[in-house]
């Protein structure tokens, strides 16, 4: 049986989530492995969500927010950029494969781009295989 990754997507309401909606209404196909949680702004994201997602067994986490400069709340994504950059450095230093956590700026009009990114990310995670480092309770590497 082929490995079907469990990917957590966190999308900001105004841009990425709307973009994902657009992909849906325009019937653009993309893999079903991503489960999207909607937040009002990418700056709402608590880095602990991401640590917890991997601890609970997520194979990949994809965060989407508005392009810097276009945040619905003006400056939210500027803070998010810093927070998520630090989060990435922490995950990397702890030894999680860096490819498993990605941040993308996806606007409301970029339906096809959303689908392309999800497609690409899912493929990458499939190649990497199940996440076994932080996901200790899931059987892990021992």
């Amino acid at each position: 049986m082929e490995f079907e990754p469990k990917i957590l997507g966190i999308a900001c309401n105004w841009c990425t989530y709307t973009g994902a909606d657009l992909a849906g209404t325009t019937r653009v196909q993309y893999p079903h492995n991503i489960r999207v949680a909607r937040v009002m702004c990418s700056s709402r994201i608590n880095p602990s969500f991401i640590f917890r997602a991997f601890e609970l067994g997520a194979d990949g986490v994809l965060v989407g927010g508005c392009h810097p400069g276009d945040c619905h709340y003006s400056t939210g994504n500027y803070y998010a950029r810093r927070k998520l950059a630090v989060t990435k450095k922490i995950l990397d230093f702890a030894g999680l494969e860096p490819e498993r956590f990605r941040v993308e700026w996806i606007s409301a009009s970029e339906g096809t781009r959303y689908a392309d990114i999800v497609k690409e990310f899912t493929e990458e995670i499939k190649t990497l295989g199940p996440q076994r480092r932080f996901a200790i309770r899931k059987g892990a590497d021992e």
């Binding site: 880095p47 602990s48 640590f51 917890r52 601890e55 810097p68 400069g69 400056t75 500027y78 803070y79 950029r81 810093r82 927070k83 998520l84 950059a85 630090v86 989060t87 990435k88 450095k89 922490i90 995950l91 990397d92 230093f93 702890a94 030894g95 999680l96 494969e97 860096p98 941040v103 700026w105 480092r133 932080f134 200790i136 309770r137």
Partner: protein, 283 residues
């Protein structure tokens, strides 16, 4: 060090006698000379119990938050300790007008457990206080030693090997929270890990709960940790937490061009942004 001790006692006495401060945060004798304790002198005669030697490693900034706002406090700080005071000032947890900062420029501090000299490999290696009202000694030459050289070994490892390292270390954590309690910047009440709703981590010291606690704490201290090393010295299990805190500090300095606790006018990096921050930092 003896001279610093003398001057420290003198200043403390003067400040308490004149009523300029209500308490002096310094060091006192413990059960032997190698184990001094944090000491809060409240009267002029108390100051005779103040000591200063190479084992006075505690970061007295940790105790600033123990006093009611408005208390006038004199605090003895070494290099890294002074940076912690700066961070607390930046975060408006204490008021500059209520503080008399007694700066101690010093090198050659030692870890009482090993007797090894404490340097930039386990701390920021800042020998001179960055903020002070009175300097209790001569400034010492700044070292060129980078506080991040010690990270090279881990940085050059493959991710899988780094994970093996951290998994082994963090599995040994007994969740005594000595690290958190020793840190001047961990003043949150309640701390995220003590909350049941949402429950970020279980109370039992399983590796996955330990991981949640530590990764989140490393994040919470980003741009705030001044690399004083107290957390690691406090840890009864000798987990090298300083390595991770250093890495986060190094990345924040590179990405945001600001070191923690250097100037009171700085805004901490995680509550700030620049439009020009590069998207490359997310890669």
């Amino acid at each position: 060090m003896k001279q610093i001790e003398t001057r420290l006692r003198e200043e403390a006495k003067r400040l308490l006698e004149t009523g300029e401060v209500a308490v002096v945060l310094a060091y006192g004798r413990g059960y032997d000379d190698r184990h001094p304790m944090p000491y809060a002198a409240k009267t002029a005669s108390d100051t005779e119990r103040i000591v200063f030697n190479e084992y006075c490693t505690h970061n007295m900034a940790r105790y600033l938050m123990d006093y009611p706002p408005g208390t006038r406090i004199a605090i003895a700080v070494k290099g890294c300790d002074s940076r912690a005071v700066v961070v607390l000032l930046q975060e408006e947890k204490i008021n500059r007008e209520n503080l008399v900062i007694l700066g101690i420029p010093v090198t050659g501090m030692k870890d009482p457990k090993t007797d090894r000299v404490i340097d930039a490999s386990t701390t920021a290696g800042t020998p001179n206080p960055v903020l002070y009202d009175i300097l209790l000694g001569e400034t010492v030459p700044e070292s060129d030693a980078s506080p991040y050289v010690v990270l090279e070994e881990l940085e050059e490892m493959a991710g899988a090997d780094r994970w093996t390292f951290w998994k082994k270390e963090l599995a040994r954590c007994i969740r005594c929270y000595a690290c958190r309690q020793a840190c001047p910047m961990c003043y949150c009440d309640p701390c995220f890990v003590d909350q049941a709703e949402p429950r970020w981590a279980d109370k039992s010291p399983s590796i996955e709960s330990n991981l949640m606690f530590h990764l989140t704490r490393f994040y919470h201290l980003a741009g705030r940790c001044v690399d004083c090393g107290e957390c690691s010295r406090a840890c009864p299990m000798e987990i090298p937490l300083y390595l991770f805190h250093k890495k986060v500090a190094k990345e924040c300095e590179e990405m945001f061009e600001q070191a923690a606790g250097m100037s009171v006018d700085d805004k901490p990096v995680m509550v700030d942004f620049r439009v020009e921050d590069a998207d490359e930092i997310l890669l």
